[in-house]
């Protein structure tokens, strides 16, 4: 067809060249002819345009498939796993630690957030059969005032709560701290009942699974692998990404792919089928992703390693708790004295002492938070325990995780920390992780050496330079391209089709601009 049109055009050009334009009559005739010619070719052009538009339409109408169903199941299963494991107590499992952390690290004095945390914690107690009332909040008279209002009907009016809070906050700037300490006190007081509740919920959760927690973990791993496979076989998304310009056809040319295959597989590529190379590439990419995460979380690993190896005084935790109980006894006595004092002078005299005791309790709790994670690390880890186990523990202890994140970046908001924790949990629960499941926390192995030697066995040419943090992203991008290349091959999608689609889309864009 192209040849035919080309011949026609050349003939027409000759005709137009021979038409005279030397006088007005000839020029008019020339213009009439040229207009006829323009109309004729415009019609042909429109017809071709229409056809091309029809051909690209199915690609244009592609919509990205999301995997929300999987994501929500993962969230549910990992929530269940955080309940059923034996690495944490009711305090962490019921997320009281997280809510207390929010209170104690109240970033912007956000009253709405404070009340939300209080409500969440009260709801947890309620679910466990402990209906808290204002009388449970007698840590200080200010806490009591605020919580009386909090439990009253007037608390549904946010501005009234705000007003009340401000009124009390002016008298007692430590109100938030006191609320936090009161909640901690209530946890210790009702710990046994809360643990019982957790056991009950755990039984309920596991009753859906024949083999208990093992089933839960297997289901999770099965779904994660299924999702990976589904993504790999998702023709729709592959075409969508090429159509939307996320992937570029020119990156997948034969010579570029050939060069990548030589870089990563060298001679060994000649002894392997396409499928084998694709599978090795997927494995290698996965290992590099895992390696990159290990680098990202290296500060966490080092911190936990130090805590695990540092000595901890025997019974340090229970001794600390005892100190707190004694201080609280003292506090409650002082509160009583203050409430029953007839004179304002006497009350004022007691205030500094009350504040001093509160400060001491606060310091003891800070010490406990620090001791707690070291205590659980030492209790649950052995010298042959893996990084995976240490990460699982870390994921259970929000305050330690949040502190570790804030040490790296003090500007992080709670939302960002929560997001990081989600990503962290998703990473550690990946069933295809190999390094963190085999390297121990106390190992002094260089992980890059492990990657290099493991892949040499598969005939993959990894070098130390490729694993440098600055080169890692490029290396992973190369491997992703190779996988896409094999996906295209497996799905019989030709680069020519994708290239044509892009040309048509560009053509349509220019056409729209010209109109």
């Amino acid at each position: 067809m192209k040849e035919k049109i080309s011949t026609e055009i050349n003939l027409s050009k000759e005709v137009f060249q021979s038409l005279p334009t030397n006088n007005s009559k000839n020029r008019k005739k020339f213009l009439t002819e040229i207009e006829k010619e323009i109309a004729h070719y415009q019609e042909e052009l429109n017809e071709i345009y229409q056809e091309l538009e029809n051909r690209v339409k199915p690609y244009q109408e592609l919509e990205e498939s999301h995997y929300d169903d999987y994501e929500s199941v993962f969230i549910e299963l990992s929530k269940a796993m955080s309940y059923t494991n034996n690495l944490s107590t009711a305090y962490e499992k019921l997320k009281l630690d997280k809510n207390i952390y929010y209170l104690s690290h109240n970033q912007v004095n956000n009253l709405k957030q404070i009340n939300q945390n209080l409500r969440r914690m009260i709801a947890v107690f309620h679910k466990a059969g402990i209906p808290l009332e204002s009388k449970d909040f007698g840590y200080t008279k200010f806490v009591q005032w605020y919580m009386e209002f909090f439990f009253s009907k007037s608390a549904s009016d946010h501005s009234a709560v705000e007003k009340k809070f401000e009124e009390i906050y002016w008298k007692d700037p430590h109100l938030i701290l006191e609320l936090e300490l009161n909640m901690r006190h209530l946890y210790v007081k009702h710990q046994k009942q809360l643990e019982k509740y957790v056991t009950k919920v755990t039984h309920e959760l596991l009753s859906h699974f024949e083999k208990g927690e093992k089933n839960l973990i297997d289901d999770y791993a099965f779904l994660r692998r299924k999702l990976e496979k589904t993504k790999l076989e998702d023709k729709n998304n592959l075409l969508y990404r090429f159509t939307k310009g996320e992937y570029h056809v020119e990156d997948y040319s034969m010579d570029k792919m050939d060069s990548l295959l030589t870089t990563y597989f060298g001679e060994s590529r000649n002894n392997k089928s396409d499928e084998e190379i694709m599978q090795d590439t997927i494995k290698l990419l996965h290992s590099l992703e895992e390696y990159q995460k290990c680098l990202k979380y290296d500060s966490f690993i080092q911190k936990m390693k130090k805590l695990y190896q540092d000595p901890q005084e025997k019974d340090a935790f229970s001794k600390q708790m005892k100190k707190i109980q004694e201080l609280e006894k003292k506090l409650f006595k002082l509160n009583k004295k203050s409430t029953h004092s007839a004179t304002k002078t006497k009350v004022d005299e007691l205030e500094p002492e009350i504040n001093q005791v509160i400060q001491e309790i606060h310091e003891q709790y800070q010490e406990i938070d620090h001791l707690m994670f070291q205590y659980v690390l030492k209790k649950n880890m052995k010298d042959n325990s893996t990084i995976f186990k240490a990460f699982l523990l870390l994921n259970q202890y929000y305050s330690f995780f949040a502190d570790a994140c804030l040490e790296k970046n003090a500007q992080l908001t709670f939302q960002e920390i929560d997001q990081q924790q989600k990503e962290f949990a998703y990473f550690i629960l990946d069933p295809d992780n190999t390094m963190i499941n085999n390297i121990t926390l106390v190992d002094s192995l260089k992980i890059s050496d492990v990657v290099i030697s493991n892949y040499r066995l598969l005939g993959v040419q990894m070098t130390e330079a490729m694993l440098e943090p600055a080169n890692l992203d490029n290396c992973m991008s190369d491997l992703r391209k190779l996988i896409i290349y094999y996906q295209l091959k497996n799905m019989n999608i030709s680069l020519e089709t994708l290239d044509n689609n892009n040309k048509i889309l560009k053509m349509m864009e220019n056409h729209q601009k010209a109109i």
Binding site: K2, I5, K13, S24, F30, L31, I38
Partner: protein, 40 residues
């Protein structure tokens, strides 16, 4: 012209060829119109 049966790559080439020719025709037309205006 039976465009439906033509291969996409060729069709794109035809489109470009015609588009280019149309541009040439438009230029030529303008040139003659201008010439005509000048001489009248």
């Amino acid at each position: 012209m039976k465009v439906e049966t033509v291969d996409t790559k060729e069709l794109i080439a035809c489109y470009e060829l015609i588009l280019d020719y149309l541009k040439q025709l438009e230029t030529k037309k303008k040139e003659v119109e201008k010439n005509d205006e000048g001489k009248n």
